[in-house]
């Protein structure tokens, strides 16, 4: 099939598709455990299951060397509460994060991460990832433990977050998988889950994948399946020009297809009503450096910042007392045991009692009200990261380690230094920017699959790990829950019956998957994607209301009737993108239904209903769950601490 050569070269013509096209061909793969997603959670889950002697297949729509939210690199390894220098226990840390998120943080994954984070890190070291300053580059720095040679970020006194050279993480996990004999299928987009008898709510017995280069289908028959995919990157907002602003860590093909596949077969979700305004300014309302330059509150923490006239922006402790010295920016306040990193999303409108809870864990901060101060002339933009004024180890750890190891910053470091940037002399520009009107994103600790202590979903045979879990996410979290889910799925698979797939379901899914290539013209996937965005912005934006949410559903139905049947694809690549965009309809429905089900506003969830204006009434401090039941949505609820006693339940289930 000829395709248009879309390059900027003058006179570009048509070229033949360079991969063999195998539409309609279906290969079958039989395995014990199937892992969907080749990011940090997926590779870890595959290792966890393979260590138990299972045959494991892993499906990734990109390539495992860089796939996933943490695929490009990682600088901070959180939750390392059991490392020898840590002064915070797993129980304390888990409790703190639960409280500091208004209790909307699932304790199961969080506690697993706290218990296993450090051991998992040591395993990564064995697989070749650098986790210590063994060359003594940072010797004597206030954030270094001289005995272990670990260097720490955030709370230097309590040392629970280790700075790592995480651009080696994907390689290390890839090596782990290879050594354990995991079979890896790259460029395969897992589209649908298969269930026993093809029934919604039935045991999950595998998945169908589409090769996005050849168009070939792969039918995976598996005793257990683990969803390790991540969520939304283009539900409210989609712009190729500005993409990297809002997908700092996630490439645009992370479209939430693991979730939508699980949704269609009746898996149970929660917290999809939570989202945050899409802030191009990252976390503090200060723009991250364009394209790949890291977050001001994470990678650049705690760099000195000055305005255009050279005026330094002061730091304060949680109580508003001015802080002097760079090290103090990473120390708890007087009388505070420890602080939590990134409590940046201080929700607006929370009760005084909730404010007091936040204060307990609040970190030192830079002067607030940046926009107001610029408007009244107190500060002159742009602002600059004043690296030259920093002590050398602090400067180097920001620009040279955080910037270098986190996300896409390695390439950023390379080009910026090649262009002459020298942190000893130069100050990098930052811009305070506004939020994009109406555009939103899930943000951190957002919705996902509801797990039990086996990290199993409500469906037999279906497990979840990493960012696919309820309020889950983060590198250490993903690796730890990945291994745990791998172990539990393996335990189940060891005695599970042979998986039998349903022919009729296969035929249905085949029909759905190939529909766009049967059309020669119609609607391009990008136009369709933007159409979904508009519905979400207008009907499911900052302020929601039963009436407008229902109208939003109506327009989604209309899209299904009309445009879904017109989206076309001219080659396997476009087919993959088209399916991603089509699946967004389901994700939009998941969000709208979750928003309808929570009949109370919540500052913690950044969720405001004009018809239910009372903010965080105590009777609504609970998990609202949604799942498909036929073509209706079934709403349920769980107590906010449904996981019970953390330590006891973990030890009873962890399988270690």
């Amino acid at each position: 099939m000829p395709v248009k050569k879309e390059s900027s070269e003058k006179g570009a013509g048509l070229i033949e598709w360079q991969y063999p096209v195998k539409y309609g061909v279906a290969k079958e793969v039989i395995t014990d455990v199937l892992v969907l997603g080749g990011g940090l959670a997926g590779l870890s889950a595959a290792m966890g299951a393979a260590k138990k002697g299972m045959k494991v297949a892993l499906v990734e729509k990109g390539c495992i060397s860089h796939a996933g939210c943490g695929g490009a690199g990682i600088d901070h390894w959180h939750e390392a509460t059991t490392n020898p220098a840590s002064k915070v226990s797993p129980e304390e840390y888990t409790q703190a994060t639960i409280e500091a998120l208004g209790r909307y943080n699932c304790g199961i994954g969080q506690y697993i991460a706290c218990r296993e984070s450090y051991d998992t890190l040591l395993e990564l070291e064995k697989l070749g990832m650098k986790i210590r300053d063994s060359e003594d580059e940072f010797k004597g720095a206030p954030f270094r433990d001289e005995k272990t040679k670990f260097i720490f970020a955030y709370d230097y006194k309590n040392s629970y977050c280790i700075t790592i050279w995480g651009t080696g993480m994907k390689g290390a996990l890839g090596r782990g998988c290879r050594e354990l004999g995991v079979e890896i299928f790259e460029r395969v987009n897992a589209q649908s889950l298969l269930t026993e008898g093809g029934k919604q709510g039935g045991r999950v017995v595998g998945a169908i994948g589409l090769n996005v280069r050849t168009g070939e289908l792969i039918i995976f028959r598996a005793k257990a399946t683990i969803i390790c995919t991540s969520g939304e990157t283009r539900l409210w907002y989609f712009s190729s020009e500005q993409r990297s602003i809002y997908t700092n860590q996630k490439p645009g093909q992370i479209a939430g297809e693991g979730w939508t596949a699980a949704w269609r077969v009746g898996a149970e979700f929660s917290l999809f009503e939570k989202s945050v305004p899409l802030n191009t300014g990252g976390l503090a309302g200060v723009d991250m450096v364009p394209f790949s330059g890291g977050f001001w509150d994470a990678e650049w923490r705690a760099c000195t910042m000055v305005d255009a006239t050279g005026k330094e922006i002061p730091w304060f402790d949680r109580d508003g007392n001015p802080i002097t010295g760079v090290t103090q920016r990473n120390m708890p306040a007087a009388g505070q045991k420890f602080f939590l990193p990134n409590l940046f999303a201080h929700p607006r409108g929370i009760s005084p009692a909730d404010k007091e809870v936040l204060r307990k864990y609040a970190e030192p901060y830079q002067m607030k009200g940046m926009h107001k101060r610029i408007a009244n002339g107190e500060l002159v933009p742009p602002l600059y990261a004043d690296l030259p004024s920093m002590p050398e180890p602090e400067r180097r750890v920001v620009f040279g380690l955080h910037i270098g190891e986190e996300g896409k910053t390695k390439i950023f470091y390379r080009y910026l230094t090649a262009a002459g940037f020298d942190p000893d002399k130069h100050m990098l520009e930052f811009n305070p920017v506004a939020m994009l009107p109406r555009a939103r994103t899930f943000g951190f600790n957002s919705g996902g699959l509801v797990p039990d202590w086996n990290l199993r979903t409500n469906l037999e045979g279906l497990y979840a790990a990493g960012a696919s879990l309820l309020s889950g996410g983060g590198a250490a979290y993903s690796c730890c829950t990945g291994q745990y889910a791998g172990r539990k799925a393996a335990e189940y698979a060891a005695s599970a019956a042979e998986p039998v797939v349903d022919r009729k379901q296969l035929d249905r899914e085949k029909e759905r998957i190939y529909a766009p290539i049967r059309r020669k013209s119609g609607i391009d996937w990008k136009e369709f994607n933007l159409g979904i965005n508009k519905v979400m912005q207008v009907y499911c934006g900052d302020i929601r209301n039963e009436e407008s949410l229902k109208v939003g559903l109506k327009w989604l139905d209309e899209l299904k009737e009309q445009e879904v049947t017109q989206v076309y694809a001219r080659n396997p690549h476009e087919l993959g993108r088209a399916l991603e965009s089509l699946n967004l309809v389901n994700m939009a429905e998941m969000v709208i239904h979750a928003s309808l089900a929570r009949k109370a506003s919540s500052a913690w969830l950044n969720f405001f209903r004009s018809d239910c204006p009372k903010v965080d009434p105590p009777e609504w401090r609970k998990w609202i769950t949604t799942k498909l039941d036929g073509d209706k949505v079934k709403v349920g609820e769980l107590p906010i601490d449904y996981w019970g006693e953390l330590k006891k339940n973990y030890e009873a289930h962890c399988g270690l």
Binding site: C63, E137, E241, V289, L416, H573
Partner: protein
Amino acid sequence: MSKEKVYAVQNLSTPSRCVTFDENICDGCNICIQHCQMDVLHPNPVKGKPPIVLYPDECWYGGCCVKECPKGREGAIRLNWPLMLTMRWKDKKTGEHYRFRMKNPPPPNPRLPSGGWRPHSEYFKPEK
């Protein structure tokens, strides 16, 4: 006026030149294609020639292609940040302003990042 031919060219969505290749250095090994998350690049029908940038507006600027290119340091492949999002900085002492890829840039800073430039794929190779 020159007699150069004028073409009607399809209007591309931007950014449209996320990566560019130096045909004199790139030998068309296609390793960059293997490591591109978004499958932006497509093999050139002519063997030995650089890949075709088929889906430039899907690039997420991760630089995987540049990092993994065996001839990346020699300049076989280059990532081009869109102009709209160019990085800017200034000299603390002199107050002089700079930006990425300017006409008269300051000299390159040769300091490597902590841990050096190791590409991800190195780890996948079996132990020696």
